[in-house]
Amino acid sequence: MTAEAADPAEAVGTVAPAADPGILQRHGGAIEYVLIPGAALAGALAVFGIFVAMFGKNPLDLYFYMYYGAFGTWFSWQNTLTRAAPLILTALCTALPAQLGMVIIGGEGALLIGALSATSAALALQGLPPLIVQIAMVIGGVIGGGLWIMLAGALRQYRGVNETISSLLLVYIALAVLNHLVEGAMRDPASLNKPSTREIGAANMIGSIPGTDVHWGLVFGLIAAVAAYILIYHTVFGFAARVAGGNIRAARIVGLGVSKLILTICFLAGGAAGLAGMVEVAAVQGRANANLAAGYGFTGILVAFLARQNPLAIIPVAILLGGISASGGLLQRRLGLPDASVLVLQGIIFVFVLGSDALYGRIGFLKGKS
């Protein structure tokens, strides 16, 4: 009989493996953390290849177009990086609470609320200098998304409500709030077919990084990921969070304010996703409407798990998955695959990555070193 998830310490361990402090010191472990997710990814691609082969498509064509559509040209690189930006931010929404052993999957909701608050801030401050409007949008997005996920954290801490389910329910509630406001109080009367808010104004858009078509949201994402890494691994606060994630009783005994940790981490997590919403409004859509619910929040969960909840690892993984979704259009045009094929591939990758959790510490030639 194998010891499955019945042991609570082990169950937490699979959610927050990055909480292990020795990862970077132990080279065997580090190789493992690259090799196993890499193998899982390769396995998932192989299964997806077999899947499309059953529909009469050539898997080699598939891999070629996926590579070409994601990383083959400068154009596709820009497309990939543009999609990676919100993914980094929404992945942080799952990865930060994971340090405390919490599974938050409501990044999509925080993104929508962040986008709404950022849009409201911009519309309220029309006429002020763009920089002030943009700063207000960032603050609005972070606070809106932050409070939204903080609600899930508070419910868990003070009422014992499971945060996984409550954060997902909050996604549907956020979507209803968005649709309600966009079709009601905040609707631009000129938007007939697609109810939207008024435009935030071209001057207030955050624009592209010079020399590219990639918007500044990517830089926001990179800064947030590095800041999250420093916060978790190089500050007392992050250390306290990892202690609480490892053993909540021990954390209470040494006098850590667990409530404060949970609320702060959840606020930061939601704030990251809210910032993703702000970026989508201020760099892509220019207004709030139902287009914002594009699934970045859900793909972000996958990014976080594939990166094993490590904020720095999130960056390459987000670029990889941004690439997969960027290649979706090419797969549709060249191979006639439905747009849902990206979803199928993401699902297969997710299943493989979770299954590969069983392999850690079991690969013979890495054992001696770790």
Partner: protein
């Protein structure tokens, strides 16, 4: 009484009709999840199972012309997804909540992929039984056109309640959920019990999905399920893992979900989206009221990761 003269009575009638019609998928998913969770594992992937069930039921019904074969296919699809969940979860150090999230994405994606050619054609639907023949109010008759699946679901709740208490299988599932050590000491494989419980749970959730595509709303499209599966999983928690309470909770949910369309039909259109979110708000509110950080919920299986 002439057509339409019942005025505002339309709203409670539509809510009642909704409680009967909309609650059926909630009922099947929650009963299925109840079995799975009683065995000590949580399957959050039932949202994906529901959508896959809806798609496969519609596809098989369209291809064979028999909606009942569609229901069966949905059940089998659900059981296979359940087996996949249980299979991955039985690997060491794999977290069942995370696998559920993965299967939620996988099931939805696969259903959208395979279901693309099914959006256009019309498949034969499940028949309804007319219990309202005695009435001449069209709205009431509409409410009382009840599908057999609802009746099966209603019958299933007390049967499960009885089975959990008195049968050998019920006892085994509960043992695996309360103490895997005890089940192991008795010589049973906990993984095998949980595999079967998750497959039966998936089977029922798949059938719940077939109701969506074959009866109400009665078509296949990508917006068919918006969180009914996950709401039903939450519903099991506040139904305290009791099949009979699952039945009442499902009815309450169906009523809440019907509130938005019902109000719209009498001309109340403002706040339509907010009323549509009523089931989610209701779930959250009930979870806030019934959960407590101080103690584990009464009736919670001790092995369940979500209550620890």
């Amino acid at each position: 009484m002439a057509d339409g003269s019942i005025g505002l009575w339309t709203v409670p009638l539509a809510v009642l009709g909704g409680a009967i019609r909309v609650s059926t998928p909630f009922l099947f998913v929650s009963l299925g999840e109840c079995i799975t969770e009683r065995s000590g594992r949580i399957n959050l992937g039932l949202e994906g199972t529901l959508v896959m069930g809806a798609m496969s039921a519609y596809g098989i019904s369209y291809l064979t012309g028999s909606p009942w074969l569609g229901v069966l296919a949905a059940g089998i699809t659900g059981a296979l997804l359940g087996a996949l969940h249980a299979g991955i979860c039985s690997l060491p150090r794999v977290n069942d909540i995370a696998v559920g999230i993965a299967l939620m994405l996988f099931g939805t994606g696969l259903a959208f992929y395979l279901g693309k050619p099914l959006i256009e054609p019309t498949a034969p639907r499940l028949p309804a039984i007319d219990f309202g023949w005695w009435s001449d109010i069209p709205q009431l008759r509409a409410v009382l056109r009840i599908n057999v699946m609802f009746l099966i679901g209603v019958a299933l709740a007390p049967i499960l309640y009885w089975a959990f208490r008195t049968t050998r299988w019920g006892l085994l599932i509960r043992t695996a959920g309360e103490s895997s050590d005890a089940a192991r000491a008795m010589g049973y494989s906990v993984l095998l019990i949980r595999l079967r419980a998750t497959m039966v749970g998936g089977f029922l959730a798949g059938i719940g999905g077939s109701f969506l595509s074959l009866f109400y709303p009665g078509s296949w499209n990508e917006g068919l399920s918006s969180g009914q599966g996950i709401t039903a999983v939450a519903l099991v928690i506040f139904a305290r893992w009791d099949p009979l309470l699952c039945l009442w909770a499902s009815l309450a949910f169906g009523g809440a979900a019907a509130l938005g369309p019902a109000l719209q039909s009498v001309g109340v259109t403002s706040g339509y989206h907010l009323f549509n979110a009523a089931p989610y708000i209701l779930t959250l509110a009930i979870m806030i009221i019934t959960c407590s950080p101080k103690r584990t919920l009464t009736g919670a299986p001790a092995e369940l990761s979500i209550t620890r």
